[in-house]
Symmetry: C2
Subunit: 216 residues, 2 copies
DNA sequence: GAGTGTGAATGTATTCACAGCA
DNA sequence: TGCTGTGAATACATTCACACTC
């Protein structure tokens, strides 16, 4: 039996397809071309992406929305609740704790950690906050496998290290610091400043080459 | 003279190199291999990335940190101040307005927009807030070219449309909605839920020896 | 006819191997 | 010798063209 290769990028886009599908409860089925329109991409890419994971459509008809949603959810592992530990209960951390979008999608920030005495022992956005030294114990006890880092840059790496020795397998790092992790940990940098810096590069380079394709 | 091709991904990584370099004011020069260690990548990749944009090192010695920093800043267009318009002054929007990292890197959220009467006319985190109908006028007058969207999902697309007709060229969308934009606009989705969904996929499909810290 | 599904072709990014310079 | 810089090779991702099915 041959292993199917499922490109990373296709998997990443599944999450976006899912988001589009959720907004389409009205209709029963949808064509790849139409789904693509909502995403600003091409029909063939949608079909190819989906084909890496199975055959979900019917020829001549399209994809059943409900069924496709369910299938993608399963592929991404969203058919259960995921618990999350958040390190750094500052402004951003607090905003994330109260973010309603997470719960809706099956993600649950279950504990927060912060060194600031005024926050320890309290509940913020109904999430209990502890001192970081208790991380390994609490995370293991609650079998949490995902972490978010919202601490200042200086504390980012040690926060990551603590999460990792606590057994965390995936980390979303919001702090403006490059963090390294062993290969068995999935680490994603969500660095706003870096995002902006990349955008400036694109603004500059688009405007340069755009003398020909100028519209508006 | 032949045009050099500079891969998108290399440009994206420049921003991370820059971040690492900034933390190294102590030493004068650095080798590609050592810089790579800080990033969790390989020396050859660092050299290749840099080579797309020019020759910044000296053989046998390495890269002068200060000079390389300056060069990368110039490539990314960070040798000036960039102003930003933010749409949606809720919790996340407010947190971003007060985020100190932006100013430090030459980014300046100059205006906010929100439909909520209680916010209009006020200054939040010393940023003035206006009603969205004034977007085209204000953004054009102030020559702002970057936008951030932190509104609820339902309002995301129309916020983007407004920014675009106001002349914005790059948008960072934090709202949990897939937004489309014409090709001359650089649109980046910073969707936390989607990030989490991608991570669950990787947790399930055990990352085999592969961990390039991937950005968004 | 109207759609999906997929091997083959093309394009892009990463890695290798080594030339070249201080 | 130590390190950068880069063409060539490889791996990966996207697009094309068309077979196939409802």
């Amino acid at each position: 039996m041959t292993e199917k290769k499922s490109p990373e990028n296709a998997a990443i886009r599944l999450s976006f397809y899912l988001r589009c599908l959720r907004k389409m409860k009205k209709e029963k089925s949808i064509s790849s071309e139409r789904l693509a329109q909502f995403m600003g991409t091409s029909g063939v890419r949608v079909r190819k992406d989906l084909s890496y994971f199975g055959q979900f459509g019917t020829r001549g008809k399209g994809y059943m929305i409900g069924e496709l949603q369910e299938q993608i959810s399963k592929i991404l592992g969203l058919d259960r609740v995921w618990t999350i530990a958040l390190v750094g209960v500052g402004k951003l951390g607090t905003a994330l704790m109260g973010y309603p979008g997470f719960r809706k999608s099956g993600f649950h920030i279950k504990v927060g950690f912060d060194v600031k005495p005024s926050k320890i022992g309290r509940k913020i956005a109904s999430v209990p906050v502890y001192h970081p030294y208790r991380m390994p114990t609490i995370i293991r006890a609650q079998k949490i496998r995902m972490g978010m880092i919202t601490v200042p840059a200086e504390a980012a790496q040690e926060s990551a290290d603590l999460l990792i020795i606590s057994g965390i397998r995936a980390i979303l790092n919001f702090s403006p610091a490059v963090v390294v992790a062993p290969s068995y940990v999935k680490l994603t940098q969500v660095d706003f400043t870096t995002q902006l810096e990349i955008m400036t590069y694109f603004i500059i380079n688009r405007t340069k080459e755009k003398t020909q394709t100028k519209l508006l």
